[in-house]
């Protein structure tokens, strides 16, 4: 099964997220990630949904989404030129002084931000596409990940 990126414009109304997520669970569709926020029009929100599906299921996902009254537009961004970003915040174990230096070095080299430095941990923040985030996580993993959070992908089509 491949991953597909859908950009879905929805009414910015109470309960819309539940309608969309309920649709996926009721019909057995797989969501890899879902991010939602306001658009330039405060009455409209944009959901970026990464779906795991084959072509036939993807077709149904799009049609079923379109069928929801609160869904205004479904755009399939798969294969398009995208500006796609994720955000990661990752808290690394750093009680050891030597490790502290290496971690900060990794952040500097990769262009990630050091968001917080504590006695026992250092927290790194990074925005970028999926590959960039994955690479950073892999670089930091050997030092001991205490906690990590990643947003779902948000994306727009590039001009």
């Amino acid at each position: 099964m491949a991953k597909f990126v859908l950009s879905v414009l929805v009414e910015n109304k109470f309960g819309v997220l539940a309608r969309v997520s309920g649709l996926f669970s009721a019909r057995g569709f797989n969501i890899s990630s879902l991010a939602v926020g306001e658009t330039e029009d405060p009455e409209v929100s944009r959901m970026t949904i990464v779906v795991e599906a084959d072509a036939k299921i993807l077709d149904q996902v799009k049609k079923q989404l379109n069928k929801l009254i609160d869904v205004i537009k479904v755009q399939d961004l798969t294969g398009e030129d995208l500006i796609a970003r994720e955000l990661v915040i990752i808290k690394i174990s750093a009680a050891n002084t030597k490790n502290r230096e290496s971690i900060i070095k990794i952040a500097e080299t990769t262009g990630a931000d050091v968001a917080d430095v504590g006695k026992k941990t250092i927290t790194i923040e990074e925005t970028g596409d999926e590959h960039k985030i994955n690479a950073l996580v892999e670089l930091l993993r050997p030092y001991g990940v205490v906690e990590m959070v990643r947003t779902g992908k948000v994306a727009l089509q590039s001009e």
Binding site: V10, E11, F14, G15, A18, R19, G22, L23, A26, K56, D59, Q60, K63, Q64, N66, K67, L68, I69, D70, V71, I72, K73
Partner: protein
């Protein structure tokens, strides 16, 4: 500008939608609304004896008339009792507006007395639903609800109305039109696609029209008939499509699928062109998918894009209203060379007709034939419950007109028939309305006898009593080595429970029991003559089965024939 209370705004809005009948049941948080309805003489409120009865009655009303059915229930258990009725309407695309009371806005989420998150509960069984938080939004919400319920692919819409919103006041302005950004149904089919269909029709040798409930919802029976007769393409119907095309027309193949006619199934399996109209390739129709209509070019005409290529790969899809598309298609289509095809179908019809063994016992199939024969000069609506009673009705009653067949298809809801018959009778007072029932399913909403008696709705309840949950028993007989696990409602004919004749009488209705074949016609005539509701209890042969039958999950080529 004067203001009015939410309850009054709702009732005024119902009047704007030309609502004349509302089915419902009272409760704490709908008192303000019902108080307002009570004062409105143009709307008749039908007090059912259970909220489920109200939902099915609104549904039956909608199916019989084509109008939007309306039901009302209170919060909590009242609302959850509507759920089966709403799901039934949703699966069969029936236009309905369900209005539920809700606890005070400030109490929502507090596990208040009789609180249930009915908007959450019904999200996946409604076309859309609303919680009205502000009285200013109420009129627009009602307008949208009726619009959404009745347009595109119809379906139920629920409005949840907190009790404080019923008291709050606002100006009453009913919107003239609706504009919903995310809801613009497509009615007009793409002409290029329709031209393609005309092309494949011309070249086809073994075409079949496979039509469903969408043709009835769209009011496209006449257009369908014109197309079929111009092209001489035989027509098979889904259960929901019965009545869309006259069952006695030489081009009719009757119903297809699990309990369809052998000739309909053989025709579909041999077809080189299958034209689906307002049907959705349900599993009860297709059987095993990868063996369904293996040689056919598949055309699918449907108003709901999500139905297209959902189960079966479609070669020529057309999204649009059946009426519009069929009209265009009839204009363009030419009659293909189908003489040999008709010959083949004639052979199948001769070799494998529908039938039953006339053993001298009281046979359900015979009863259904007699119901039709005795009333053949009258306008009749047949409602059913679910199970063998329903399948025998599809096979042995020849439906001639749309909206004369009312039965729960997609959800298969036992207990649907009696309240649906009540709704249908109210919507069509001149028609003779039957509920063909089993002794199992009739008991699921038997309390609605009181509604029928008190509201003077003379429905004719024909119970085919075999003392079993017959359809499940049939599966147990055929596939579970006759282990009748929990399907025995009566051990023997002397222990039938309840006595339906006495039960009818206790409600103030008439009860008739028939044990002999010779008495069937007279009993039906008596029932029709009786002014009020009647129960006729037919003590049928107990282990009669519905044949032909395609075992679940098998190819529709593999039919079991009980008579062979």
């Amino acid at each position: 500008m004067s203001t009015m209370k939410g309850a009054e705004i709702l009732v005024k809005s119902l009047l704007k939608e030309n609502v004349e009948h509302v089915f419902g049941y009272p409760g704490g948080v709908v008192i303000p609304l019902l108080d307002q309805l009570h004062r409105e003489s143009k709307i008749r409120f039908i007090l059912t004896r259970h909220e489920q009865g109200a939902a099915h009655a609104a549904d039956g009303y909608a199916r019989a008339t084509g109008r939007v059915g309306v039901c009302i229930a209170t919060s909590g258990p009242g609302a959850t009792n509507l759920v089966t009725g709403i799901a039934t309407a949703y699966m069969d695309s029936i236009p309905m507006v369900a209005i539920t009371g809700q606890v005070k806005s400030t109490l929502i989420g507090n596990d208040a007395f009789q609180e249930a998150d009915i908007v959450g509960i019904t999200r996946s069984i409604t076309k859309h639903n609303y919680l009205v938080r502000n009285v200013e939004d109420l009129a627009r919400t009602v307008k949208e609800a009726f619009y959404i319920a009745s347009t595109g692919r119809p379906g139920p819409v629920l409005i949840d109305l907190p009790v404080d919103v019923q008291f709050a006041t606002a100006e009453f302005k009913y919107p003239a039109s609706v504009d919903i950004k995310g809801y613009k149904p497509t009615y007009k089919g793409h002409i290029k696609q329709i031209e393609k269909i005309a092309e494949v029709i011309k070249k086809s040798k073994r075409p079949v029209l496979y039509v469903g409930g969408g043709v009835i919802l769209s009011g496209a029976s006449e257009e369908l008939s014109k197309l079929a007769h111009k092209t001489e393409i035989p027509v098979t119907m889904t259960m929901m499509g019965l009545g869309a095309f006259p069952g006695n027309d030489p081009l009719s193949l009757g119903m297809l699928g699990m309990h369809g006619t052998a000739y309909a199934n053989h025709a579909v399996q041999s077809a080189d062109l299958l034209i689906a109209v307002g049907a959705r390739f349900d599993d009860r129709v297709t059987g095993r998918l990868d063996t369904f209509a293996p040689n056919a070019t598949v055309v699918h005409i449907d108003i709901d894009p999500s139905s297209v290529s959902k189960n079966v790969e479609v070669h020529i899809p057309v999204v649009g209203d059946a009426k519009d598309v069929l009209r265009e298609l009839t204009r363009l289509a030419e009659k293909p060379d189908v003489e040999a095809w008709h010959q083949k179908i004639k052979e199948w019809k001769k070799e494998l007709p529908l039938g039953y063994k006339d053993s001298g016992e009281l046979k359900p199939q015979y009863i259904i034939e007699q119901i039709q024969d005795v009333t053949k000069d009258k306008d009749v609506i047949i409602c059913t419950e679910v199970g063998q009673n329903q399948m025998w009705s599809t096979q042995f009653y020849k439906f001639l007109k749309p909206r004369t067949w009312i039965s729960s298809g997609g959800l298969g809801t036992m207990g649907f028939g009696l309240p649906a018959a009540i709704g249908a009778q109210l919507g069509k007072p001149e028609s003779i309305v039957f509920d063909i029932a089993g002794d199992g399913s009739i008991q699921m909403n038997i309390q609605e006898m009181a509604t029928a008696v008190i509201e003077r709705l003379p429905v004719k309840i024909m119970i085919l009593n075999n003392g079993y949950l017959g359809m499940v028993r049939q599966w147990q007989e055929l596939f579970y080595e006759r282990r009748y696990a929990f399907t025995v409602l009566a051990e023997d004919v002397h222990n039938y429970c309840p006595d339906f004749v006495k039960l009818a009488e206790s409600y103030g209705a008439r009860g008739i029991r028939v044990t002999k074949k010779d008495d069937v016609r007279n009993a039906v005539k008596e029932a029709v003559k009786t002014e009020g509701p009647v129960i006729v209890e037919f003590m049928i042969s107990r282990e009669e089965n519905v044949f032909p039958m395609v075992p679940a999950g098998e190819s529709i080529s593999n039919m079991l024939h009980g008579l062979a």
